[in-house]
Amino acid sequence: MENTRSLYFFLFIALALAYVSAPAASDGSGLKTSVGLDVVGQAGLNSTSGASDRLDVREFEVMLYAPADHLFDGMGSIAAHYEGTGIPQVELHEAYLGSSKLIPRSRFRAGQYFLGIGRLNQVHRHDWPFISAPKVHKEFFDAEALLDTGIEYSYLLPIPHFLEVTAGVTNGFVYGHDHSAGSRPLVPTNYLRTVTYFSLPWDGGTQIGLNYLGRRGGEGTQRTILGVDLTAKWKEGALLNFLLQSEIWYRVLTPKGGTTQKAFGLYLYPQYYLGENLFLGLRVDYYSVLNLTDAFGSPVKSVELNFVPTVTYRPSEFSSIRLAYNLKPEFQGGASTTGHHLELQGVIVLGAHPAHDF
């Protein structure tokens, strides 16, 4: 019942904001509204696929953003999605104030937001170039993104080459997907990202980020994550001819008094424009727990792969239809399984759409 009330409240707010923002957008205030609808279906092709075998509204998201005055900006987004229940769960995705004008060469934000690390973590899921999160992203961060409430500050170094450093601290009471209010961490979530940009031949460009994240939870588990993200694009005007996106991550988890777990994962996604609004990509995922042992202390080799050819029909930046096939070989010890499943996604974005970083 509480969830139903939340859903009605969410729909009321969404409609009210859309109604209010329409005249506001033309009154000089700059208020913009965006509504994102993300529908995803999965169909398993064998018994080990792990597919949901259903079609879901993965997300219905309402986003508002605008400059508050000559110094500050504000942004808020609320999303409804299913979490294993018949009724959508409504949650606050982002709500923060910030400025890129108050301090020279700097920008900051305070509130709840997707943490400014990596590539996928900073992009709303309906804007990803593929349907579902790679294993490493899901394991280290979340199925969508790691979000929390805190403060983030970015500084553009005064050198001829583009080099920006971002540092942030968030409450860290929860980390990633959580069903509870969490508990006070011994060390809050803290992160650092350095990003640079290089031009590439044939009018290409690449952005490379180095990332660090740390946290020590209330139960004493120390989490350290290091990673590199790379995005390279070759465009002709607004048309993305070729995209290469990759993230490589390494995580060390040390429970209080327990055994340290080291894990490594990556994904690599090249995508090519075929013409006629059609894009073809192939994502390769790799994930391994490096020091997995069995109950008797013997090392166990553990590797999960996923090969995801993905076709996207994207007639404009406001809509896309995507079809993907997942081939997932998994090896652990002497055993192996291979899952097969299909995914279908439809995305519609209504209204304005904020510009993305590169």
Binding site: Y272, Y273, V300, K301
Partner: protein, 204 residues
Amino acid sequence: MSFQANLFRLRGMGSGLLLVAGLLLMAGCGGSPKSSQNPIDVYRLNGIEYGVLDKGSLDFSDTRISGKGTLIFKDPAKSDDNNYALTFSLEEGGSLTLVANSDAKLAEGVRYTFSRTGSRLKVVLSAGASETYDVSETFAAVPASSLPLMEIDVHGHGHSIVWAAGNKLDEFAFTTRVTGRLWGLRLDKATVTQAKIGKAKEEH
């Protein structure tokens, strides 16, 4: 750019990807684990290997384990989110504890303790060192004298879902995040005929 030119460049891209995939496969699958130096005897329950941490008065066969003692299953879980399926019975005053997402000593992780008093089933959920919840009410309709198949999802991010005889009963959230990949059982006047681990039934 023509469609044919695009396809030509695509073929080159495909070769590169095959190379990357091959390297990853070689890195991941090239070795085999060192031979086990089992400090404890290995037994099998329906083909699933386990070792005994506390032999107590345990009685073993290939299809059942009964009595009092503690055992740990050999193979680690494949994920932080798992489903545990248990078929067991309890004598009067008996109990069975599932220790999930734990370490080699079964000293941490999530614990479900099922205990029987008459026809009443008491169920206690514990996570980490500080969280303990009596969740017996959820199992009020489950007869302690004739327990059905119990299935329990334990997700590493502090979430658990329970089913009895295939019917979803409830789900619980706790603040302790668990990272262990090993699991085991503590028996006291209990008989276990099935204990399996698999992919989480629900992912959320």
